[in-house]
Symmetry: C2
Subunit: 160 residues, 2 copies
């Protein structure tokens, strides 16, 4: 006998095209910027204020990958952890638009661009979502478009 399947708050059907969500509130410190960069992206402008002053960035700024990782954490807390998420095959068009500085507080605005059932897997739907990361001045610091697979609440229901 199979164990009963876990139920979730959000399924594929809960993310219709055009849906806009805003969430997240994550402040990044100089220590966190330097810690991430020391492990994964040890370029001078991510490791010290002085290294940043000698670069085009004009001061210490977070690795773009650190900003991506922070966006992922806000997306997890914002909806993914309460969703019947099946992971992501990839994403498109990451743009790092402005430096993220120590003390910046980031939030996310996401828009569902595309939602379609997967023909090969009747219980799964695909979403394409644009994720914008903004700072405390509402300046966009990063943008990306990602694909996500989600379980359907009503597998095999006709396309609308």
């Amino acid at each position: 006998m199979n164990a009963p399947q876990k139920t979730y708050k959000y399924y594929w059907e809960d993310f219709p095209v055009g849906k806009v969500s805003e969430f997240g509130n994550m402040t990044v410190s100089a220590e966190e910027i330097i810690d991430f960069a020391g492990k994964f992206d040890p370029q001078p402008f991510h490791l010290s204020e002085e290294g940043g002053k000698n670069s085009l960035f004009g001061g210490l700024c977070a690795s773009g990958w650190h900003t991506c990782a922070m966006a992922m954490r806000m997306m997890c807390d914002g909806y993914i952890l309460e969703s019947a998420s099946l992971g992501s095959p990839g994403l498109e068009n990451i743009r790092w638009l402005k430096p993220v500085r120590p003390g910046d507080t980031l939030h996310v605005r996401s828009v569902v661009l595309e939602a379609r059932p997967m023909d090969s897997k009747p219980h799964v739907g695909l979403l394409r979502v644009r994720t914008e990361v903004l700072n405390q001045n509402n300046e966009e610091v990063m943008q990306m478009e990602g694909y996500g697979m989600y379980r359907r609440r009503n597998p095999g229901a006709p396309k609308e």
Copy 2:
């Protein structure tokens, strides 16, 4: 008087279209996978072997963002830190092709897809590079195409 400009091993001219480079050797542990996920991507399949067994992945696997970050570290050690790099405006087409498991040892194969001087900045050239991340069995676990800006050794030299 300006300070003398630092010199680097690699400039934009050192990355011609078609150049293939292989580098990196990075083993990831279960502890590192769980530590990264706990901070940035706390989905069950990135947090424990048991959470992974109950997912499509069949066991604990690294966050895709962790794989990106490891790729960045190998790219830094492989060439970026010895290059006149000016950062990256973004990238395209990240594909997570296979799960990265505890104990996997990753390396990178990169190919220069495009190299052009920036018309707006005569001392800067743009590169588009495809970066493939492979595991110890030479299976491709991730692929991405990124843009990078590099200082030119010979600013304003005629296009070839």
